[in-house]
């Protein structure tokens, strides 16, 4: 039907067709998309992986979300034994949730009235993806990655988190094989709440450490 010229690469594969003006709008991101696609095609062609492997991995990663982290935090708030195990060895403790850590180890850091923890990956975008899903764009931005290590209080303030001077900030640069989950302070007025009720107060950002957990409404939602 179309008289569009189909361009083929040297392997006889059709080149990616973008929108009509894509040729005028090639930016760095497009370059890396193209590189990633080319590497994937080569790996498939050479039998290292199958096309289905890529799809399965994408499906798995897309199935992850901060709900996993919220369930972990809620259990730690409700169950002191679990909290102790979680802080001692995060990787082992979360096995009861059947959440894999893949190749990384989990370190859980606890916010208290004396310490506030926040997580960054200055070198790239390391993030506990199996627990929190994909990282937000700001977490991957050069601005957050550079500023949160040398002016964490200013960054926190911009997120609306104004810390008292006597609270020490502990920044964790996730630069190697550990992944970090912040255990936020449990909000007041939640005594006796069930784990599912508590989990609703646990936001993604509170587990990265840029905000506190959500304050409860006067009555728990049921």
């Amino acid at each position: 039907m179309s008289d569009k010229q189909v361009e083929l690469n040297e392997h006889g594969h059709e080149l990616l067709a973008w929108s009509d003006d894509s040729r005028h709008d090639v930016d760095e991101a497009d370059h890396y998309v193209l590189m990633a696609d080319a590497i994937r095609d080569l790996l498939i062609e050479k039998g290292v992986i199958k096309a289905g492997d890529v799809r399965e991995q994408l499906e798995f990663m897309d199935s992850r979300s901060e709900d996993m982290g919220a369930r972990i935090v809620a259990r730690a708030w409700a169950n002191p034994d679990f909290k102790e195990r979680l802080l001692a060895n995060g990787t082992e403790a979360i096995k009861e949730f059947d959440i894999p850590m893949l190749d990384a180890e989990l370190v859980v850091v606890e916010n208290t009235n004396e310490f506030h923890n926040m997580v960054v990956c200055t070198l790239c975008s390391c993030y506990p993806r199996t627990i929190l899903g994909m990282p937000p764009d700001w977490y991957k931005s050069k601005t957050y990655r550079s500023r949160s290590v040398n002016e964490p209080r200013a960054v926190l303030k911009e997120f609306g988190t104004d810390l008292a001077d006597d609270v020490a900030v502990r920044v964790h640069d996730s630069n190697a094989d550990m992944r970090y989950l912040v255990l936020p302070l449990r909000p007041e007025g939640t005594d006796g709440w069930s784990e599912p009720e508590l989990a609703k107060l646990v936001s993604r950002d509170s587990m990265i450490g840029v905000s506190p957990a959500t304050e409860p409404a006067t009555e728990p939602e049921t």
């Binding site: 964490p152 020490a168 920044v171 550990m178």
Partner: protein, 113 residues
């Protein structure tokens, strides 16, 4: 060949260490801002594949000991504007760590079976 480290961990929690100040080419997991700085071992994390090798298709074995090291923010940044007790932790492979006050790297002790 299990790929486990050839030596026991050199450092333990509480030891003071200096981060080796070096800029070798290639893939490194040591950010520039921490090079030459002095911190304290917060914990030993275990042994992991060496990313400086695995980044180039080698197996990264034997594994390298990894530690979490804690630094005072006021020590890292000249003009740090915050609490004197603010800290920064990051993960360092053993070959980037130097015992404090040591002019040169200490020779590695082989494990005697």
């Amino acid at each position: 060949m299990t790929g486990e480290p050839l030596t026991d961990p050199i450092f333990k929690t509480g030891d003071q260490v200096r981060i080796h100040d070096s800029n070798p080419p290639g893939h490194r997991r040591t950010p520039d801002y921490i090079k030459g700085k002095i911190g304290v071992i917060e914990r030993y994390c275990g042994a992991f594949v060496n990313p400086e090798e695995s980044a180039y298709g080698f197996d990264g074995l034997p594994k390298k000991h990894l530690y979490r090291v804690r630094f005072d923010q006021t020590h890292i940044w000249d003009k740090y504007d915050g609490n004197a007790s603010d800290t920064l932790d990051l993960e360092m492979y053993e070959h980037w760590l130097r015992p404090i006050n040591a002019a040169a790297p200490e020779p590695r002790k082989a494990i005697v079976q």
